[in-house]
Structures are given as structure tokens and as C-alpha cells.
């Protein structure tokens, strides 16, 4: 790995860490529960569904800080009582529906603060319970064996927490510390930095220079010592740059540094830490231990990679070892006979936060052993031990000493693979090159992951009760519009009219003193519902009339359709979803195919291929077939999920209804069923994706290396679309390939008129056809004189 690549990778890791940390805070609503009690309703599949009302998290957190400021100097119990009273008052207003926006924010803030106050006020009781457990154990020794692991564990726990008896906890802005401790991805970013560093130490082996390095005067002890210092420096720098930045961002997002002199147990996440220290003291201690743990992990990585005889397999072996260790760490039960594998594990030092947020003693021959204490105490000796082993290994391991068992295993595996590969024809070999050699299978796996996490539908909220009624009647009368539909609507209207007439009669009766007010109220409520229903029915009737006249004019059979499923998935509100799906599809296609042609050049195979019978037009044809296959794969995964969402989330029955009955397709130029329209839609998307794939092949054929091809492919295929879709740079609209791939934004904007869409498709198909012709021309060398 070149220095430039290493530096670029480190920079990307640091950037990704900071951005993902911020994203996590925003996604977690600044660690607040922003849902208000009650909620609003949406109409789905003919039924009303409740959706919780939420508030803007950032604004709520700002209110939280204001409330915190007002109660933090009060005694805890007083603060809790005051907050409880405030919550009650706000709850009432919310229940009555009279709460203003600021009061909604206050409710969320007060509720969160009350949780913390409850924790702090209850902390003393929790400590007392631990001591009571111990006393019960000793008092009733007949029933509990104090010499069992369980008994000893209770005693040890009580002893450790006894020192916290007089600790005085207080409220404070703990968001920064809690967010910093909860963001576990940073642990893996740090691991990645250390792994990259250890891999970079293998460069001389990869370049075949290990003999030369070992033969030089400074190539053993001095070099090993320098490398150890580099790991140490990288550990300190990595911890400062990753965790330090997270903490600083946390301070910026969560109301500043706050009071770092409070006992550490004041932070909810650290309540189980039996240590007398302040928040500030804990942070200093954490950073030192984190750097030491990183140093140990770095040494282990270095040792592991150096001890592998065949340098080609270092990444595979390192990944396998880490996977096994992670498996033990994650999946072994807390108290098991194998817990040594779980806790004396590299991930104990990678996920260091767990040592402070959980209190745990493990069973070691019946004796409870505190994981945190053991891990902390062992850290320095382990660092020294492994530093010595690393230096010894670097100085004494001979370049050609090993038996290369991995090489033998790989040879055996290759032999089995060769038996399969020899059966493949040219297309199969191209597929093998794309999926295996160019790591397309990784892209495919990432694509599936991304597709599973994409959002394919939006919830369409209902604005008024009349709209709810209209949706209800649409669902009730859905189907082909016939005289029977009109009759049913008339009948429904008649029923509603009776209710309204009854109310008028009841009013007269009440005025004449014939009925009581309570009876009138009953009639009034029914009449109110009937009035809303009547308005909803009128909306549906108007839509029916509109469809009937359009159907008559345009020659299609009018259907009343619940449009919500189609609006949710394909409508203008779902534009963001469509953008994302198209971008993911194009990105996956670009990454899958960017190496296809460039790989031949990178391998120096171009001349050799061209000298063979099928190394020109035939191979280009196979590459285009490959583009077709990859396009089908990508479209199936991404748009397959979209169809699955449509079928799963909505009970669509109107597949055979003419598509022009949908409002968004009222100007569609020809008559076809919704089913046929959907098939056409996905076919258009497939064609446009295929065109993109062919353009990527052209870019690939112009690049000398796969990486350059990937970068150029992404630059051409994605950047204009990204800038247009997300930063609204209108000038890049003509270059945004996501528009023709999405289809619907162009189609829905003109109610299905295809004149806005056709030029896009024609241009894209034209560019793709020109690219394909160019690929064949350049492969066949038609430019040459003859």
C-alpha cells in the first residue's frame, strides 16, 4: 500500500467517522424521545391508522437545555417534583389539544429531564439494594451458599459499590459524554486504522524485498523499534482524532462541556461504574486507556500479519481471526464455561466502552473476577509483552522459513475451482472475472444490503375529516364505474340525508320540549358525521363524474381506484425515494462494470486478446451481455424490492383497471391496464439502466486501470445527478441520468404525457448505441488502414 493510499484511507476514515457520528445524533433525535402522546391518523388500505406526532428534535433539545439550566441547582427531589408537576400540566394541554408548539417542545424536554432526575434520585435506593442483597445472603446462609460463585459475586458487588454510598449526583448536560460512549462505530474505525498500518508494514514482503531489508544493518531491531513507535503514535493520534473529534462534536451539539466535576455516576450510562471519580477524570482515564488498548490491538495486528508466512493471505487470515474473535465476543453467553474466550478477547480492548457501561464479574473456578479490573490491570503488562514478542518476531522470523500451509490449502481450493471454471464458456468466464476477480460479488452484496434499507413508499397524511371520508368511500366503491356504483352512492347519500333530516326533526322536538338535550346531542353528533360523510361522498361523486367523462372522451373504461398505493410508491411525494433507488442502481452498475474493460488493459492482455479468434467482436458482445445481466440483477434487486413493498404494504386489486384512471396518468397517451403500465415502467427503467451500463463499458474501455475507471464512471454517471437532485443545480439537469432511469418524476409531472420523457430516453439510448458502436469499432480495429 503506497503512502498516498494509506493517507487517503486514513483521511476518509476520519471524515466518515465525524460525518457518521453527526448523522447518528440527528437520526437518534439528539437522544430524545420526540413522540408526543396521542398522534394523528392516516388512511391506509381502507382503514385509519394512528401515527405518533413528533416534534423537531433540535428545537426540543434546546428547550431541554433551558429546563436543565432552571432546575440543575435545585435539590434533586425538588427538581423531580417540579418537573413532574410541569409534565402533568403539559400532558393535560396535549390531551385537550390546546398545547402550542412551544409547549409540545417543553413536554418532550421535561419528560427527558424527568427520566434523568428519576434515575438520579433512585440511585441511592439502587445502591442500598445491593447492600441489602449482601445482608440477606449472609443472614440467610441456609438458603444461599455464600461460598458459591453467586454468593461471592453478591458480596464482591456490594463491597465494590459500598464506596459510592455518599456520592452526590447532580443533573447536567450529559449528551456529549453519552453520545461519545454510545457511538461504537468509532471502535471499528480505530481498528481499521490499526489494521491498515499493520498491512502497510507488510509492503516489503509483498514487493519481495524482505530479504534485502533483513540484510541491511537497520532492518531488524531498529526497524522493529521504529515500527512499534509508529503504532504507538498512530494509537494516540487515532484515539485523539476519532474519539476526541466525537467528543468535541458532542460538546457542540449537546450544550457545551458542562460541569465535568460531577461524580461520574451522574451520567446515566456510567451508573454501574464502581469508581470514585468525576466525569472529567473519567474522560482523561478513558482516553489514556483507549490509547493503550489501541496500542495493544495494533501490536496484535502486526504480530498476526507478520506470523503469516504467505503474505498474499494476510488480509484473509486477519479477517478470519477477527471474525472468530468477534463471534466469541458477541455470541457467547455472559456466564458460560467458555467465557474466557469471550472476555480475554481482542474485542474486549476494541469495545472498551463496555467495560465502563456494564458491571460484570465472571465465574473463574467459582471466584468472581471483575472484567474491568482485570482488563485494565493486564493492559500495560500485555502491551510490554506483545511489544517484546513483536520485536522478537520481526528480528527472528526468516523470510523463507515457513511451510506455507495456507499456500497449500489455497492450491487445493484453486484446484477445485479450476474444475468448475474449465467448464465455463466465454460469457461464464467474463461473469467470473466481474464477480470474483473484480470483486463484483462484494458490490452485489452491498447492493442487496442497500436495497433492503431503501425506503420505497411515503405515508400520505390525510388533511381533513372530509378527506378521510372520501378515502373511505373510494375504498368502498372501488372498481369499474357502472350504474350500480351510482346507485350505491345514491343509496349511501340517502342514508346520510335521513340522518341529517332526523337531526333537523330532533332540533324541532328539542325546541318544543319533546326531547332532552342529551338526546339532541346524540343526534347532533350523528348529523355531524353524516355531514362530513356527505362532503366526502360528494368528492367521490365528483371524481366519478370526472372519470366517466374522461373515459368517454378518451375511450377508456372508468374505474374508481384507491390511488394511495400508486401515489405512495410512484407519485411526486415519493421523488426522494425514486432518486435514491435510481442512484443506488446506477452506482452499483458503475462499480460492477467499471472494471470490465479496464481490467484487460490493467492486466496487459489487450494485444493478446486481439490476436485470438474471439478476442475482438465476440468478447465485446460478451461484455455487453454481461452489462445486460448486471442490469437485470441490479434492477431485479432494487425495483424488485419496490414491487414487493407495493404488494406487501397495500392491498391493490385494480391491476386490470385502465392506467388513465390514476390522476398522475390522466394524460398517458394510450390505453393500457395498470398492470401493463407497471410492466412498461419497469421495462423503461431496465432499458435506461442498460444504457447507463453500456456507457460505463465505454468509460471502462478508455481507462487504463480499474480504479481510474471506477472514479471516472462515478464522476460521469453520478455526480451530475447528485448535484442536480440534492443541491438543485439546474444546469446539470440535462446530464442527470437518474431522471430517465426514475421515469416517474418526468411522467407524473405532466400527468403521464410522455413528451417530456421521450427525448430523455431517446438521448440516453442514442448515447448508449454510439458507445456500443464505438466499442465494436475499436475492438475490431476498423480505423486501421488496409
Amino acid at each position: 500500500m503506497s503512502k498516498r493510499r494509506l493517507m487517503a484511507a486514513l483521511f476518509l476514515i476520519l471524515l466518515a467517522n465525524a460525518l457518521l457520528f453527526i448523522r447518528e445524533q440527528v437520526q437518534n433525535d439528539y437522544m430524545l424521545d420526540v413522540e408526543l402522546p396521542g398522534g394523528s391518523f392516516v388512511f391506509q388500505n381502507g382503514a385509519l391508522t394512528s401515527t405518533p406526532e413528533t416534534v423537531e428534535p433540535k428545537a426540543a433539545y434546546e428547550r431541554y437545555l433551558i429546563w436543565l439550566e432552571s432546575v440543575k441547582d435545585l435539590p434533586l427531589r425538588d427538581a423531580a417534583e417540579m418537573l413532574e408537576a410541569e409534565k402533568k400540566s403539559l400532558s393535560e394541554k396535549l390531551g385537550e389539544g390546546t398545547a402550542e408548539d412551544s409547549e409540545k417542545l417543553d413536554y418532550i424536554a421535561v419528560n427527558a429531564l424527568l427520566d434523568r432526575a428519576d434515575y438520579l434520585t433512585g440511585y441511592g435506593d439502587w445502591l442500598e439494594n445491593i447492600q441489602k442483597n449482601k445482608e440477606n445472603l449472609l443472614d440467610f446462609a441456609l438458603f444461599n451458599d455464600p461460598n458459591s460463585f453467586s454468593g461471592r459475586n453478591i458480596v464482591k458487588t456490594a463491597e465494590e459499590f459500598k464506596k459510592l454510598e455518599n456520592v452526590e449526583l447532580s443533573l447536567g448536560a450529559d449528551g456529549a459524554v453519552e453520545s461519545f460512549l454510545s457511538f461504537r462505530l468509532t471502535d471499528y474505525f480505530l481498528l481499521a486504522i490499526l489494521l491498515l498500518l499493520a498491512l502497510s508494514f507488510q509492503d516489503e514482503r509483498k514487493a519481495g524485498l524482505w530479504n534485502v531489508v533483513r540484510a541491511s544493518p537497520n532492518g531488524r531491531l531498529r526497524l522493529a523499534s521504529r515500527r512499534m513507535c509508529i503504532i504507538l503514535a498512530a494509537s494516540v493520534f487515532g484515539v485523539a482524532a476519532l474519539y476526541g473529534v466525537n467528543l468535541l462534536i458532542g460538546f457542540a451539539l449537546y450544550g457545551g462541556v458542562g460541569d465535568l466535576g460531577r461524580p461520574v455516576q451522574s451520567v446515566m450510562m456510567l451508573g454501574k461504574l464502581p469508581m470514585m471519580t468525576t466525569v472529567g477524570g473519567f474522560l482523561v482515564r478513558f482516553f489514556i486507556l483507549r490509547a493503550a488498548a489501541a496500542f495493544l490491538v495494533g501490536l496484535l495486528m502486526w504480530l498476526m500479519l507478520t506470523s503469516i508466512d504467505n503474505v498474499k493471505y494476510t488480509v484473509i487470515v486477519a479477517s478470519a481471526v477477527l471474525a472468530v474473535e468477534y463471534g466469541f465476543y458477541t455470541f457467547l453467553p455472559v456466564q458460560s464455561v467458555f467465557n474466557a474466550l469471550k472476555y480475554f478477547n481482542i474485542f474486549t480492548y476494541i469495545s472498551l466502552t463496555d467495560l465502563y457501561t456494564n458491571y460484570l464479574n465472571i465465574d473463574f473456578l467459582g471466584v468472581p473476577i471483575g472484567i474491568r479490573n482485570v482488563s485494565q490491570l493486564a493492559l500495560i503488562p500485555l502491551c510490554l509483552l506483545f511489544a517484546a514478542i513483536c520485536i522478537y518476531s520481526h528480528c527472528h522470523k526468516k523470510p523463507s522459513s515457513g511451510r506455507d500451509l495456507l499456500g497449500r490449502a489455497a492450491y487445493f481450493i484453486n484446484g477445485a475451482a479450476d474444475k468448475l471454471l474449465r467448464r465455463l464458456h466465454l460469457f461464464g468466464m467474463e461473469l467470473h472475472k466481474t464477480l470474483y476477480i473484480e470483486k463484483g460479488v462484494v458490490v452485489a452484496a452491498a447492493l442487496i444490503y442497500a436495497a433492503l434499507n431503501l425506503s420505497y413508499k411515503v405515508t400520505i397524511p390525510v388533511a381533513s375529516l372530509e378527506e378521510i371520508a372520501a378515502k373511505k368511500y373510494t375504498a368502498e366503491f372501488a372498481g369499474e364505474i357502472t350504474d350500480e356504483t351510482i346507485k350505491l352512492m345514491d343509496a349511501e347519500q340517502a342514508e346520510l340525508n335521513i340522518i341529517l333530516a332526523d337531526y333537523e326533526a330532533a332540533k324541532r322536538d328539542y325546541e318544543n320540549g319533546l326531547i332532552k338535550y342529551s338526546e339532541l346531542d346524540k343526534y347532533a353528533r350523528e348529523a355531524s358525521s353524516a355531514e362530513i360523510g356527505s362532503k366526502g361522498l360528494a368528492t367521490v361523486r365528483s371524481r366519478v363524474e370526472q372519470l366517466k367523462s374522461e373515459g368517454k372522451r378518451e375511450g377508456f373504461v372508468p374505474w374508481l381506484i384507491d390511488e394511495e398505493p400508486f401515489e405512495s410508491v410512484y407519485g411526486s411525494r415519493a421523488n426522494d425515494n425514486q432518486n435514491q433507488a435510481a442512484l443506488v442502481s446506477i452506482l452499483a452498475l458503475t462499480l460492477l462494470l467499471a472494471g470490465s474493460m479496464a481490467y484487460e488493459r490493467q492486466s496487459g492482455m489487450t494485444f493478446l486478446l486481439r490476436s485470438t479468434a474471439r478476442g475482438r467482436g465476440a468478447i465485446v458482445m460478451r461484455k455487453i451481455l454481461l452489462a445486460v445481466s448486471m442490469t437485470t440483477l441490479v434492477a431485479s434487486v432494487v425495483y424488485g424490492m419496490e414491487i414487493y413493498t407495493l404488494l406487501k404494504e397495500f392491498a391493490v386489486t385494480a391491476w386490470d383497471a385502465p392506467a388513465r384512471n390514476l390522476s398522475m396518468l390522466s394524460s398517458f397517451p394510450f390505453n393500457c391496464s395498470i398492470k401493463a403500465w407497471l410492466m412498461l415502467l419497469y421495462f423503461c427503467r431496465w432499458v435506461c439502466l442498460l444504457c447507463c451500463a453500456v456507457v460505463v463499458l465505454l468509460i471502462s474501455s478508455l481507462a487504463k486501470r480499474c480504479e481510474a475507471s471506477c472514479i471516472a464512471g462515478c464522476a460521469v454517471m453520478l455526480i451530475p445527478s447528485l448535484l442536480y437532485a440534492y443541491i438543485n443545480i439546474e444546469a446539470l439537469r440535462p446530464l442527470s441520468v437518474i431522471l430517465p432511469v426514475e421515469v416517474m418524476p418526468l411522467l407524473a409531472a405532466s400527468n403521464g404525457a410522455i413528451f417530456d420523457y421521450l427525448p430523455w430516453v431517446a438521448s440516453l439510448v442514442g448515447v448508449a448505441a454510439a458507445s456500443a458502436v464505438w466499442l465494436f469499432v475499436s475492438a475490431n480495429g476498423i480505423r486501421r488502414k488496409g
Binding site: 498474499k312 492450491y411 471454471l421 474449465r422 485470438t612 479468434a613 474471439r614 475482438r616 480495429g781
Partner: protein
């Protein structure tokens, strides 16, 4: 069967890499000798249609029709079906094993699977790659890669074989083995062999083609070439301070020690009066120096 080059010219801007070359290759092994930049690789790239030619024709006649030769550009795929090519620079898929690479090349050469299997087994044996057939090319030594590339060139029973430096990077034992195989394989084929290792050409070539500045300066059998320089090579003793002076005046070949004295071998039309002719001990290096030396 013959391969005919008529006025074959290749220009890169104002630079003429190949200048109106006219040769007819018939069955046999042709060794191509020339300094770097003489036009050997350009000629091979034109023969494999990997670069566009500026002028001229390359006609191939497989002897099946009475019409005579057809331009290889017109023949296209039909010519490439009978072509085996090993390029000078090692190009290979480093993540493919030796065996998969050969099967892939067999697919590209449109060789039926069954035939490919038999041929690959044989070629792996000949090129001594059987024991490393499942090793990835990226992990093979330079010699192994060279042998794998040679094996692919010989796949499909090609009638025209173009080998650019086929024995580069091989140890002497491997070189002899490969050289002997090429020699035995040459029957009924046109084999063009470019190499800097003159001993390879000397021992197996039926004819040797000498190239200089994009032109063919001589083509003959090795014996006739030796004959043509038999009175152009002398060996003479040289005093320690004289070597530079001799080098300025004559084309100097080997400098060697004999009976405690330093001797030099000089080549040219004008030779010093001192020294002795060595007609019985001529080498291709002498021919090379005489025709191609500056």
C-alpha cells in the same frame, strides 16, 4: 502455406518504424534479430493486427485455394484462428490460475472444450507447469508466467506462430527444453521468433531475418550467414592500453583471456593486419555485429 509482406510500412508521425518491408515467410522457423527499435515488435504487431499499418499488405495463403494469398485484414477472424501469439511484455490475469488462464485462452481461440482439455494437459507437461497448474499467475515466478504465455500461444494447433522473446527469463535448462519443443512443433508451420538470445535462434532457426532501422537488411540460413562473414572476423592479442583504440577503429565483439594475454575479437570489412581469422568458430554474435552493429 505462406505469409507475404508487401511494401509493409508503419509510420508514427514522421518516424518510420517499418519501411517498405517485402518478405515471404514459408513453413519453417524464422529467427528475427535486430537491436531495440529495429522494428521487430512493430512487424509482429502488424502481423497480429494490433496496430494499424500505414501502407502495404500482409497476405496469407494457407495453400487451400489456388487464388493465392488474402490480406489478413480481410481474413480477420479466419486468420486469427490459425494464429498463435506470445507478446513480448508479460500480460496475464494475475488472479487466474495457470489452468484457468489456458482454458480461458482456449475459449477465446474457439477451441472445443474436449480438444482444449487434451491440448492443455499436453502443453502443461511440455512447459513443465503441471505441478503449478492451480497456482495463481500473480504468484508464479517470471519463468512460469513466460511458460504459461508460451503454452497459450501454442494452443489450438496454430499454423502461424509469432513468439516475441519466448525464452526471456527462463533458466538454461528450461530454455533448451522450450527451444527443442518449438523446433519439433515447427513442422508444417510458420514460426516467427524474435529474441535477444542469439543462441536460441542459432540452434533452431531455418532462416534468420536481420532488421535495422525498420528495414530488413538480410535474410538467409544460419550457415549462409556464417559463410558471408567468414572472412570478416579476426581475433588478435591486445596490450592493456590498446583496447580503447581498437574499439574506436573496429567493431569489437568478445574480449577474453587466453594464455595470459588479453585478446579481442573484431568484426568488419576492414580488419587489422595482425591477428588470425577464425572461420571455424563463427557465432551468430559475429553475424549480428557485422550486419547490425553500429
Amino acid at each position: 502455406m505462406k505469409l507475404e509482406l508487401i511494401d509493409l510500412t508503419k509510420k508514427y508521425g514522421n518516424f518510420t518504424a517499418l519501411d517498405r518491408v517485402n518478405i515471404t515467410f514459408s513453413k519453417g522457423i524464422y529467427g528475427i534479430l535486430g537491436a531495440n527499435g529495429a522494428g521487430k515488435s512493430t512487424m509482429m504487431n502488424l502481423l497480429t493486427d494490433n496496430i494499424p499499418r500505414t501502407e502495404g499488405q500482409i497476405l496469407f495463403d494457407d495453400g487451400s485455394s489456388e487464388k493465392g494469398g488474402t490480406d489478413i485484414l480481410k481474413l480477420g477472424r479466419d486468420f486469427r484462428r490459425v494464429l498463435g501469439y506470445m507478446p513480448q511484455q508479460q500480460g496475464y490475469y494475475e488472479h487466474m490460475t495457470v489452468e484457468t488462464f489456458l482454458f480461458y485462452m482456449a475459449e477465446l481461440k474457439a477451441i472445443p472444450k474436449r480438444q482444449a482439455k487434451v491440448e492443455i494437459e499436453k502443453l502443461l507437461e511440455i512447459t513443465d507447469l503441471s505441478d503449478v497448474r492451480h497456482k495463481k499467475l500473480g504468484g508464479c515466478s517470471g519463468g512460469m508466467k513466460q511458460r504459461a504465455l508460451l503454452a497459450q500461444a501454442l494452443l489450438g494447433d496454430p499454423k502461424v506462430v509469432i513468439l516475441d522473446e519466448p525464452t526471456a527469463g527462463l533458466d538454461p535448462k528450461e530454455r533448451i527444453r522450450i527451444r527443442n519443443f518449438i523446433s519439433s512443433f515447427s513442422r508444417g508451420r510458420i514460426i516467427l521468433l524474435a529474441t535477444h538470445i542469439v543462441s536460441d535462434i542459432e540452434s533452431i532457426s531455418d532462416k534468420i531475418l536481420l532488421m535495422k532501422h525498420g528495414q530488413v537488411v538480410g535474410i538467409d540460413t544460419p550457415d549462409e550467414l556464417f559463410e558471408s562473414v567468414s572472412d570478416k572476423v579476426k581475433e588478435l592479442p591486445c596490450e592493456p592500453g590498446e583496447l580503447e583504440k581498437i574499439e574506436e577503429m573496429y567493431k569489437v565483439g568478445n574480449v577474453f583471456q587466453r594464455k595470459g594475454k588479453t585478446w579481442v575479437r573484431v568484426v568488419g570489412d576492414e580488419l587489422p593486419e595482425a591477428g588470425e581469422y577464425v572461420p571455424e568458430h563463427l557465432t551468430l554474435e559475429d553475424v549480428y555485429l557485422y550486419y547490425l552493429g553500429e
